[in-house]
């Protein structure tokens, strides 16, 4: 009984937390699913065809991919020196808390607040403005992921490589990048995911640019099949990021 209760609890919670997601592939291919039937009457590709033939959705997906790739790459480039400094300084907890504070800001506040400035700078309703706004949330996550990689061992190996070759690029190529490969992969995946799913920020700063989350919201109640297809599109990058993080090993998290 004492063993059965925790297992039953875990099983129930897994069913409630993860089970609902299993409906998505069924709904995405259910061309006809009339109530009160529990099984779809007809399966097909109507949802995918609607997405591909929509006037705005392919453009929105392309825009979201472009912005997310740019935000992830720039986020890692900005976070790299910051993470190295934080690791070298063995930054106190208070500094870490300041790093993560922007993550708690409401995304719509960030979007609407930056729109005021971006309108003056000509960046509102542009992909560049969207990338810049998404960086508010992407960079702290990249810092959190990259910092544990700059271990004292890596720094020792870098010092040895610098002494032996004297060539900075060769040191980066042969020591730093191989040592940071997993962290960089995870930071890129996480950065992409954070930007990919930004709704409030995109609505505030780039309401005129078609972005996937902005077109997705009105479809949720209007067309469940198309919404399920978009759910699967939106969910793919985060699950890839999770897979990468599960493969990550031997890295201590920052001191939060």
């Amino acid at each position: 009984m004492s063993r059965l209760a925790p297992r039953a609890l875990i099983g129930t919670m897994l069913f409630v937390l993860v089970g609902p997601l299993l409906l998505l592939p069924i709904q995405a291919f259910a061309d006809e699913w009339r109530a009160p039937n529990l099984i779809p009457q007809r399966f097909g590709l109507r949802g995918i065809e609607r997405v591909l033939n929509d006037g705005l959705l392919p453009e929105a997906i392309a825009n979201s991919v472009t912005v997310a790739i740019a935000a992830a790459l720039i986020g890692v480039l900005i976070a790299w020196p910051a993470s190295r400094s934080l690791a070298q300084l063995d930054a106190p907890r208070a500094v870490w808390l300041v790093v993560i504070l922007p993550l708690l800001l409401p995304p719509l506040v960030v979007g609407e607040g930056l729109r005021v400035w971006f309108l003056r700078l000509g960046l509102a309703d542009s992909l560049a403005g969207l990338v810049l706004a998404h960086l508010v949330f992407v960079v702290p996550y990249c810092i959190l992921v990259l910092t544990p990689g700059f271990t004292p061992e890596l720094r020792d190996r870098e010092a040895a490589a610098t002494m032996l070759t004297g060539d900075t690029w060769q040191r980066i190529q042969s020591v730093t990048l191989p040592g940071m490969r997993r962290q960089v992969a995870l930071a890129l995946a996480l950065g992409f995911t954070i930007s990919w799913a930004q709704y409030g920020t995109s609505l505030g700063v780039g309401g005129g640019v078609p972005m996937l989350p902005l077109l997705f919201v009105p479809l949720v109640r209007a067309d469940p099949q198309v919404a399920a297809v978009l759910d699967l599109v939106v969910i793919a990058p985060p699950l890839i990021a999770l897979a990468i993080s599960q493969r990550r090993s031997g890295v201590d998290p920052p001191p939060l």
Binding site: P6, R7, L9, I10, M13, V16, L17, V18, P20, L21, L23, L24, A35, P36, L38, R93, L97, L101, P102, L104, L105, P106, P107, L108, V109, V110, E112, G113, L114, R115, V116, W117, L119, R120, A133, L135, V136, V139, W196, A197, Y199, G200, L203, P213, F216, V217, V220, R221, P224, A227, A228, L230, D231, V234, I235, P238, L239, L242, Q246, L256
Partner: protein
């Protein structure tokens, strides 16, 4: 990025005091006066705070037994619990509509549950519980040390009852992640836009959706009112964030560590 965050906050504050900021309008407090006398806005404040409180409390209440049960489970089970963590809120809200909305799975099996678009905010509450229970559970699991089982056994050997073991051994370990996590969850609920848009009612609005609705209904002239509502949202979120930072630092300060060590001895 801190500069962009500050610029964003300055942007909404400025927009709330300066209608027509772009064409050089003068400063004034009209938007704030209208906001504070708007019944729709006050309803939005109540709706948002109530949803945040219930979602956070329920998530904590479900996470504690789940974390306790998962303490000695396999990494596979922990991995499964972590699965909803990276799934965007938008997807969880959309899945909630597929299951609980009119014509959804639950509707086909039995009867429509008054959850999606409920004026009380049950839709928002359910989505946040589904999303935040894994987050809080993993936060609590990370707080359990490798020696917690040994401590619990020692307490049991010394004659501590189940309640005493819970209060003396487990609760102190769970206090920090629970407080920190619940403040973060409450801050997320208050600042969320897409979840109330997808599963929330048309009326009352949540704080963030009120700022969208007011511009849609009254036009660009209402932008200062919307900005003022977002300033109020930011103040609530920042107050919760600062409380989380303060509690995190207080519970992990050297003095707190000494107090804990003292208790252990």
């Amino acid at each position: 990025m801190g500069g962009l965050s500050v610029a964003a906050l300055a942007g909404v504050v400025s927009a709330s005091f300066r209608p027509g900021a772009l064409i050089g309008g003068s400063y004034g407090t009209d938007a704030w006066r209208r906001l504070l006398s708007d019944q729709g806005f006050l309803d939005a404040v109540i709706f948002t705070l109530r949803a945040a409180f219930i979602a956070t409390t329920a998530s904590v209440a479900l996470s504690i037994p789940l974390a306790m049960a998962l303490r000695r489970s396999t990494p596979f089970a922990r991995g499964l619990v972590a699965l909803p963590l990276p799934v965007p809120h938008l997807v969880i809200a959309s899945v909630a509509v597929l299951w609980l909305g009119p014509g959804g799975v639950v509707d086909r099996v039995g009867d429509t549950l008054p959850i999606i678009a409920s004026p009380f905010g049950w839709g928002v509450i359910v989505v946040y519980i589904l999303k935040e229970v894994p987050f809080l559970t993993l936060l609590m699991l990370a707080a359990f040390g490798e020696d917690d089982h040994a401590r619990e056994e020692a307490a049991r050997t010394l004659g501590a009852t189940r309640l005493e073991r819970w209060r003396g051994v487990l609760l102190p370990q769970l206090a920090r992640p629970t407080l920190l996590g619940s403040l973060v969850v409450a801050a997320f609920v208050v600042g969320s836009t897409e979840v109330p848009q997808v599963v929330g009612p048309l009326s009352p609005d949540a704080l963030t959706t009120w700022s969208i609705t007011v511009v849609r209904l009254r036009g660009p002239v209402a932008r200062p009112d919307a900005a003022a509502a977002l300033v109020v949202t930011s103040i609530i979120v920042l107050a919760l964030a600062i409380a989380a930072l303060w509690s995190g630092m207080r519970l992990t300060s050297p003095r707190a560590a000494r107090d804990r060590d003292g208790d252990d001895q």
